[in-house]
């Protein structure tokens, strides 16, 4: 990076870094809403919003070039979010008279804060002077801490409106977010163990190493390792639950709670909740991409290694792709985020909403044990590795390796149990009724 940037006062540098992260997120949120509506309607065999931003050219005007006269230019309804925004601005802002005024006004802001603050340690390119905003040695803990603050906006919104359905939504949200945070923390702890660092930048660097330590031309993205794959699945489920998205959108279940915690909100305050939700989706997708999917790297290949060891033509291609990989890094990162957001929408279109007890049992009885076993396996893996390579004691390594297989067996068994439980017929509670017959005539 240019030296003049590093010569600026640190406060200016920090401001530039914050703006470089925040402005794209703010600008992409409306696009995200459009994408969700169009993709969802495509998946549900509808058309979706496709009319806004259709330009009908005049048939007679001299200002319009000849080939356009009387034609229509369609832009796939891309300006729909702007129309929605204008509508929301001009809607009446109703404040319930029995509400807790101060909390009612503050809650949308509190809901918006963690969604944007989440990305503070998220690197979106290999350019260290521009990103992440702060490369502190607690990177991933910061993400967990800020995501745990997300519950306050929802809870306060539910409480302050003085509506029992809102309150129910807030209560559900607080229980749900606390439950899923545990499994999320455990799944990220596996990656922390494997990397040996809490920094997000170190995690991405670790993923640029040789594939399984054996194939130097491929990158070792954590999703390709067995423990990383399990952790990725757990993290992804928890991520959907943390952002209150379907099938975990119990806090706003509209067939039970009207609209859940934001029932009493209208106009722009209502829109702010949605902005927070979409920004959180965006940033969580970014965390998923950087922790498990190689961050800002284009594809799991070490282009430099290929460029040095391949035949001339392919070496040239690899060199070119390596340059692309470096200079277009934000593009690859955004591409991955777009893919994960599409997965979010795909999940929403596919799965029905969970029941509350199903949600709790999934979080506590399936995901948390799975993530914990995964954690133990990673620890054992590292122990075996150290015993064999550093201590040079094959006997201890063999014993530890045997232990690793036992733990892995327990993990496989528990996964099998979970899959079996998920796919099998639900175990219905059997209740028997004993008929009391005071007269003693009827026989049942």
């Amino acid at each position: 990076m240019a030296q003049w940037f590093l010569d600026l006062h640190p406060a200016w540098q920090a401001l530039v870094r914050v703006l470089l992260f925040l402005l794209p997120v703010l600008m992409l949120v409306p696009g995200l809403i459009w994408w969700e509506r169009r993709l969802l309607s495509w998946m549900q065999d509808r058309i979706g919003p496709n009319r806004v931003a259709t330009i009908t050219w005049s048939k007679t005007s001299k200002m319009v070039p000849g080939f356009l006269r009387g034609k229509k230019t369609k832009l796939f309804g891309l300006l729909q979010p702007i129309a929605d925004g204008v509508k929301l601005f001009f809607k009446e802002d109703v404040t319930p008279s029995a509400s807790d005024r101060f909390l009612y006004f503050v809650a949308p802001g509190i809901a918006l804060f963690p969604a944007f603050a989440l990305g503070g340690t998220l690197p979106w390119a290999p350019w260290r002077s521009l990103t992440p905003i702060a490369d502190v040695n607690i990177g991933i803990l910061y993400v967990l801490a800020i995501s745990s603050l997300g519950v306050y906006g929802v809870v306060l919104a539910g409480y302050s409106g003085n509506n029992k359905y809102s309150l129910m939504g807030g209560l559900r949200a607080s229980a749900q977010l606390i439950s899923y945070e545990l499994a999320m923390g455990m799944s990220l702890a596996c990656i922390v163990l494997a990397t040996g660092s809490l920094k997000m930048t170190d995690m991405i660097k670790a993923q640029e190493g040789a594939f399984w330590g054996a194939l130097p031309w491929a990158q070792n993205w954590f999703v390709f390792t067995p423990y990383g794959f399990v952790a990725m699945v757990v993290f992804m489920i928890c991520m959907v639950a943390e952002t209150n998205r379907a099938p975990f959108d119990l806090p706003e279940a509209e067939n039970e709670l009207i609209a859940g915690y934001h029932t009493e909100y209208s106009s722009m305050k209502f829109a702010v909740f949605f902005m927070g939700e979409y920004a959180a989706m965006f940033v969580f997708s970014g965390v998923l991409a950087s922790v498990f999917f190689g961050g800002y790297n284009m594809a799991p290949f070490n282009w430099d290694y290929i460029a040095q060891n391949a035949p001339p033509f392919w070496a040239g291609v690899a060199g070119f792709l390596g340059k692309m990989n470096y200079w277009l890094a934000p593009l690859w990162f955004i591409g991955k985020i777009a893919f994960f957001i599409s997965v979010y929408i795909w999940i929403r279109a596919t799965l029905p909403r969970l029941r509350y007890d199903q949600l709790m049992s999934l979080g506590w009885k399936s995901l948390l044990p799975l993530a914990t076993f995964n954690f133990i396996i990673v620890a054992a893996w590292i122990l075996v590795n150290r015993l064999v390579t550093e201590q040079r004691s094959p006997l201890a390594g063999t014993i530890a390796g045997f232990g690793l297989w036992v733990v892995a067996g327990i993990l496989a068994y528990s996964i099998w149990r979970i899959v079996k439980r998920a796919s099998a017929e639900p175990e219905l509670e059997v209740r028997t009724i004993k008929m009391v017959d005071p007269v003693g005539e009827a026989t049942v």
């Binding site: 803990l141 967990l144 801490a145 607080s174």
Partner: protein, 173 residues
Amino acid sequence: MNTSELLTPNMGVFALLGGIAAFGAVGVVAFNNATRSALCLVLTFFTLAFLYFTLTAEMIGILQIVVYTGAIMVLFLFVIMLLNLGALKSLFEDRDPKMLIGGVLGLGMAALLGSQVLAPMAKVTQMRAPEGIGSPQSVGYSLFSTYLYPFEIASVLLLLGIVGSILLAKRRI
């Protein structure tokens, strides 16, 4: 020490964060409404974390947010909302002699704590801990070497709490 020496940017940041934390702490006891008190406590814990950040103790600051702001206070709010505690008018009594005794005892406690904390602080000249102190590595290392037994005993205590709550909550195990 004259005033111009005191008016540094660091002092400004500290005064801002410390002031918010102190006002939040006052609000915890001053508000009648249980929810507002809890929220003031959240604010205090949150700004305390930022005070740690300004001392480059990121680890302790982020643990403050994770444990207190993110977990304990959410549970507090959860319980308050579950019981739907409104403003407790009956608890608000004025001219109670107990208030005077409580105030004196509270001031005595503050003086005792303050003297214990402030006396060693008078000799402090360096503002920040040296690099590496309080980093995740050093905290983890001391937890699993010097403080291994207290750490493990604390974990057993937590386990006992969990087992006990299950015993109390479940009628049939």
